[in-house]
Amino acid sequence: MKALWRFFTSVKLVIVLLIIIILTSILGTLIPQQRSPQEYAVHCGSLANLFQRLQLTRLYHSFWYIALLFLFALNIIICTLTRLNPKLKKTFHPRLESETKSILSLKISERFRKNSNLSETKNEFEKQLHFRHYRRREKQDENRVYLLAQKRTLGWFGSDLVHLGLLIILAGGITSGLGGFKKDLVFSSEGQILQAPQAKFKLRLDKFETENYPNGSVKDWISTLTVLEEDKPRLTKAIEVNHPLSHKGLIFYQSGYGWNWENASLEIAVKKKDDPAFSQELKLRVGEKKAFGDGGAKISVSQFLPDFILNEKNEATTRSLQPHNPAAFIEGWQGEEKIFSGWIFAKYPDYALLHGAKETNLSLELKSYEASQYSVIQAVRDPGVNLIWVGCALLMAGFFLAFYWPTREIKAILEETQGKTEVIFGGISAKSQEAFQAEFNEIMTSLRRSK
């Protein structure tokens, strides 16, 4: 038991754990995380099985990584607690130094003689310390005064606060991991109402817009959402990236967008090569068949692709869901007989791929295409997030105290012999040696100069 305690109190364990966590974290960035088993099989070959067995494919959520973090947390708790007690003692019940030797062995120290008696010297010393905001303690013998002055003692506890902050952040992470969830709400059209997950209210998408920069790239996606409680509107907010909606513990983010291309409505111009006077524009949806002219001819659209490309097998497919190269597959009919079919392109009107049983005298152009947009809203419940912010605040406060608010401590012994007083004093300040040295020198000069 004692050995176990000693194991956890050792700083060596912190160092070893830090190094292990650093190395394993690096490993996690070298192996792509959370991919499909097939992908690992393709890229890692025979190693794939080993990776999965060791949970290297979801390293940061693996049993052993979390166990490492737990061990680290335990180590932090024990190390902090064992060091806390001496610090509290140093602050609230400090021991006054009575050995001249140990004062003179401090990093900064001085000894000199003053031509005034003990109480005068002491008062002057105290005045100087008080003026510089030192908290003082003293003890008096017959001809000796022992002095201890401290300031910014909170600086000692900076590291403890940092550790506390870290533990709270870890606790927040665990809380998020256990009690949080994420769910995508896909609004496929404006006006649609969806139930908020694990909550008693509904959401309605009032409006969805994409704003573009003049060069065509996306500036912003904006979804106007209304919260409905028992079918009554409660509040309406336009959410965009970086500006989520928060309601009753759930936060809603703009996380995706797209077009319902399978339901696109198109405008197709039909012309006859041998009759320049003939021109007709047809509006039709994907899957629809419409007649044109007066000879009983019809055309239909069977497919629409927003970003047409031919794959390796020479099949038409779409490269993305963005309308980079919109194309429609058109079929021409005479009665029930199909006379031609082929692709026409919005951006390349001259490059139609029409072929059929007979040479057709028609020329078709894809004039315009439109599809309703859908908006994906991510609903997030994260019960750990407030712990994270509290932890961060403590962490930063701790850093401030530890690095920018260093404790200063002055110890002194004043000894009277024959009406004169010998002053022996020294000081320590771990993190601001130069600044403290300057203050120390000031105190000394004013003390020597005074009468």
């Binding site: 974290s25 500036k219 983010y253 997030v380 962490l395």
Partner: protein, 272 residues
């Protein structure tokens, strides 16, 4: 005057500064280093103007592509150097420091870096872009100072062991590395991790996603935590401390550049 001219002038001033610093190093005339410092400071002012101009022209923070962020990193490094120089008077370090700055500026002005300001993608339109990136960079600039002084420490230590005298004593260099890290570590924590988490939670709906850039900034943080614990609690100084400081800065550098090019993730949109 255009932003690119100002950038070029700053670049030239940094080179002039480096020339003076190096001639000081070889001729041991203190005054040359003072002139070097003067040019570095002048360069900093011109560089500041260039960054302001870019901000005004593009209408957003000047660190949304590689050119901008290299330029800003060079700027932050000079700023950190000036602060350290004022506090500790370490003229000799200037020569090596200017080398890093010049390398950053040269990289930024290479024709491979896309320079035109692009409109911001939706996720970057937030004041957290300013807070997150600039504070992180400032913290990393102090790590850069520690990196330089640690390398100088290793050189000085080797010399001193052979009984030769060095311009700056190894003990002083060791102390400056430590002090730079002590200043930089809280700043890096605030900008890189805390502000990063706040912004991530606003933009992505999750304060931590184990994205490679997040993991690498955590790694950087842990390396410097290791530095501080080995130093403060276990009393590691000198060579071992210097090596950890060097590794820490390399991790920071990898977080900053390497992740964008080598590892894909959520942050990859930031540097097209």
């Amino acid at each position: 005057m255009s932003e690119s001219t100002l950038f070029l002038i700053a670049f030239v001033l940094y080179i002039v500064s480096a020339v003076f610093y190096f001639s000081c190093l070889f001729s041991k005339k203190e005054n040359l280093a003072k002139i070097g410092y003067f040019f570095a400071f002048l360069g900093l002012i011109v560089h500041t103007l260039a960054l302001i101009m870019r901000t005004v022209e593009s209408g957003h923070a000047p660190f949304t592509n590689m050119y901008e962020s290299l330029s800003l990193f060079a700027w932050a490094s000079i700023l950190a150097y000036v602060i350290i120089e004022i506090t500790f008077k370490i003229r000799n370090a200037g020569a090596y420091f200017m080398l890093i700055v010049i390398a950053l500026m040269a990289l930024a002005s290479s024709p491979l870096m896309p320079k035109e300001a692009m409109p911001l993608v939706p996720a970057l339109q937030s004041y957290w872009l300013w807070l997150h990136v600039s504070v992180t960079l400032l913290g990393e600039a102090f790590f850069a100072v520690a990196f330089i002084t640690s390398i100088m420490y290793l050189a000085a230590d080797t010399k001193e062991k052979k009984g030769k005298k060095t311009g700056l004593s190894s003990a002083k260099l060791d102390s400056i590395s430590y002090r730079s890290i002590a200043i930089g570590f809280p700043i890096f924590t605030l900008g890189g991790l805390v502000f990063g988490m706040i912004w991530a939670s606003k933009a992505w709906g999750s304060y931590w996603s184990w994205d490679p850039k997040e993991v690498w900034s955590l790694i950087t943080w842990l390396v410097f935590a290791l530095y501080l614990h080995t130093r403060i609690v276990m009393g590691w100084k000198g060579r071992r401390a210097a090596i950890i400081a060097i590794l820490g800065f390399l991790a920071a550098l990898f977080t900053y550049f390497g992740v964008n090019y080598l590892l894909a993730g959520l942050h990859s949109y930031a540097y097209a």
